[in-house]
């Protein structure tokens, strides 16, 4: 057993795979199962363990992936968004660097004890965080052509997987993760694998849509292979996904920085959208969560005024937000703002490039995207009936209770 962030984990007795399906609103699985396209998942739901869990808010990729691999909320691991306002430098910075990580991962702790680990992510932005302190294999689909034994614990991924490096905006970027997982399982025999995809498909297609169903049918074929290989598999997600449009299908945006500039004067406040990363084509950096840095005397006034606006679900001051959403108080603004299911938050209307949105905006970030699947291909007896499950219980269930 290793003890990590207050929880104990047994080393895997069987090959174990935890999969984070980016943007997997539970209804994607339901509709694909109903369409007969996920026979393996259907069997797991019947014979294994089928839970719906809460992810971390902000329901974004980085905070949730780090929660899953640390077994802890952002108040512990420190990664509370894709970006952060660094008060020291006065600049908005990406939180891709492991220097922002405040807690060890379960992966690192187990690799220290000799467990053979492999991590495959779709986008490279997550790789360094997930692989921090870990020995073993760790690479992304995006940079699968540039791996090395020294940096990634493996070389020549492309011949192994038998797929070309996919476009960063494609369903294949995620398929590559699954395909690599299956090949690694057969050839490298990792004892614990963490596979994390991208939500390109989910940002574009609603549950039940033909392209969404095609993605989940593809996913199911890989699940079947993992199952046949005898692995314990846990499937969860970093966040859900909802349509975020007005009646005319244009993005339903509240531009917070524009509002605050009007209320307080230009540049008196700073709105941070922690969804922001270098890959914003499919959502225009629009999500349902923002944090706002304000002059001290303005917080109450701005908070009350925002809370009264149509489309705003919750406004909380720093400490209350840190408590409710388990966030590091020193890394969020004076206010946390969460918008409703169909509404996203922007900075200024001039600062979002929506020209490349090909379809009606779908996005995430709010409480409305907090429900995610938590499914295992093993039945776990005696599950606590009224417990609030979290996506970051995945490793605990997979390692401690499913084998």
């Amino acid at each position: 057993m290793v003890n990590v962030n207050g929880r104990s984990y047994a080393a895997p007795k069987q090959p174990t795979i935890v999969i984070c399906v980016d943007g997997c609103e539970p209804d994607y699985i339901a509709q694909a199962v109903a369409a007969g396209l996920m026979p393996t998942m259907k069997r797991w739901l019947r014979d294994g363990t089928a839970l719906v869990a809460d992810c971390v808010v902000p329901s974004f990729t980085n905070p949730n992936n780090l929660s899953i691999v640390t077994g802890a909320p952002p108040s512990v691991h420190g990664i509370c968004g894709n970006t952060l306002f660094d008060a020291a430098s006065g600049a908005e910075v990406m939180m891709n660097d492991p220097k922002w990580l405040r807690a060890p991962t379960v992966l690192a702790a187990l690799s220290d004890r000799g467990t053979r680990i492999a991590v495959v992510t779709a986008k490279d932005k997550l790789r360094r965080l997930l692989g921090h302190g870990m020995r073993g294999i760790c690479f992304s689909s995006e940079k699968a052509g540039e791996v090395s034994e020294a940096e990634n614990g493996i070389d020549a991924v492309l011949p192994l997987v038998g797929m070309p490096v996919p476009d960063v905006y494609s369903a294949e970027l995620s398929e590559f993760v699954f395909a690599a997982g299956v090949k690694l399982l057969a050839t490298q025999r990792p004892e614990l694998m963490y596979l994390s995809t991208t939500d390109y498909v989910q940002h574009k297609h609603a549950p039940g849509d033909a392209d969404a169903n095609r993605f989940y049918a593809m996913f199911d074929r890989y699940l079947a292979e993992m199952d046949r290989a005898g692995a314990v598999v846990a499937v969860t997600a970093d966040h859900g996904m909802n349509a975020k449009v007005k009646l005319d299908a244009s993005p339903n945006v509240i531009y917070l920085q524009d509002l605050l500039d009007r209320w307080l004067g230009e540049a008196a406040s700073r709105v941070i959208l922690p969804i922001t990363d270098p890959y914003v084509v499919h959502h225009g950096a629009l999500g349902s969560f923002a944090t706002v840095y304000l002059p001290p005397e303005a917080a109450d006034y701005v908070g009350a005024r925002l809370a009264a606006m149509a489309g705003i679900e919750t406004v909380l001051p720093r400490e209350a937000a840190a408590t409710r959403f388990e966030l590091p108080a020193d890394r969020i603004g004076d206010l946390v703002v969460v918008s409703e299911r169909s509404v996203v938050l922007g900075t200024g209307v001039a600062r979002h490039d929506l020209s490349q949105l090909e379809r009606p905006l779908r996005s995430h970030g709010g409480v409305s995207e907090q429900r995610v699947p938590l499914v295992l291909n093993r039945r776990i007896e005696g599950l606590e009936a009224n417990r609030r499950w979290r996506n970051f219980d995945a490793l605990d269930l997979a390692l401690n209770r499913a084998q």
Copy 2:
């Protein structure tokens, strides 16, 4: 001007049509507009008035249709569900009889002053309530073959519309309403028309689904005809619609009566599902709202225990529920229970026939289905920016502000 339920309404100066599209989650319109299938609606959204309003909770058909035609919530008009527990008789009764109606309709008041009115509903269950106290034309698609001048203010509807009587479970039942509206407009010159459809399509198909898009494309063709005829048209809905399934696509149900029988003993409590009506094939009488009659000493205990359950959004005692949801306190139980977006409430597992659900359950009834479109083909200047719009503002906007 007539004064009805505390609000004043001008008689129409131009032909005016209010349309209640049953189960019209706003995203149905957005996805159909994005697919290029609603050119008329797209133009209205740009040049007319495009609001998203709150319907009445329980987000069911009868309470909301009556709210739209009375301009008032159920606390005023008394219709708080499709069914009611009649304490006097100790039985569950349909609220289709006008004896349950506590307020006059705007339609009746205007017809008294000589306005020519026509009402067409899909299902006959609503006809008597909507037509109560009103002179003019009032019939349903369902019984379009059985109309008479004496009962319906018109005979020979079928030759006028040129469609056969549709099946009660069909998209055509709603199309018949629109087709009849257009023909009535041309031949009978009603000054005010109320058209109310059925949510057969919405219970089966998600926004953007091919069959849903086909329905809204059909709807748009009739809107174009109404527009060309010079009518002021307001489009709203009785409630939204959401998927209500587990990961395996089976209905995600909390069976309240079974729970309460276990907690309190058989028949000590009575769970009422006000969605219940004779047409339950497409939803199995499963919605996200229930009201519960309890022994007096049990309300606090049951309320707290239900509120702690996963899937339950809100539990309120009678008076608090009556205040929050504007319901008649004497017609609801000791508790009102509202479930979450993906969850429905049932009585006992043995009492719901789900065998005829052909597709994954979609339903309504909760706060999660409260958002509905409120669109007019006329621009209204000076709309209050932060007002909470209601679907029952439709007649006020159409009669008082759009002409």
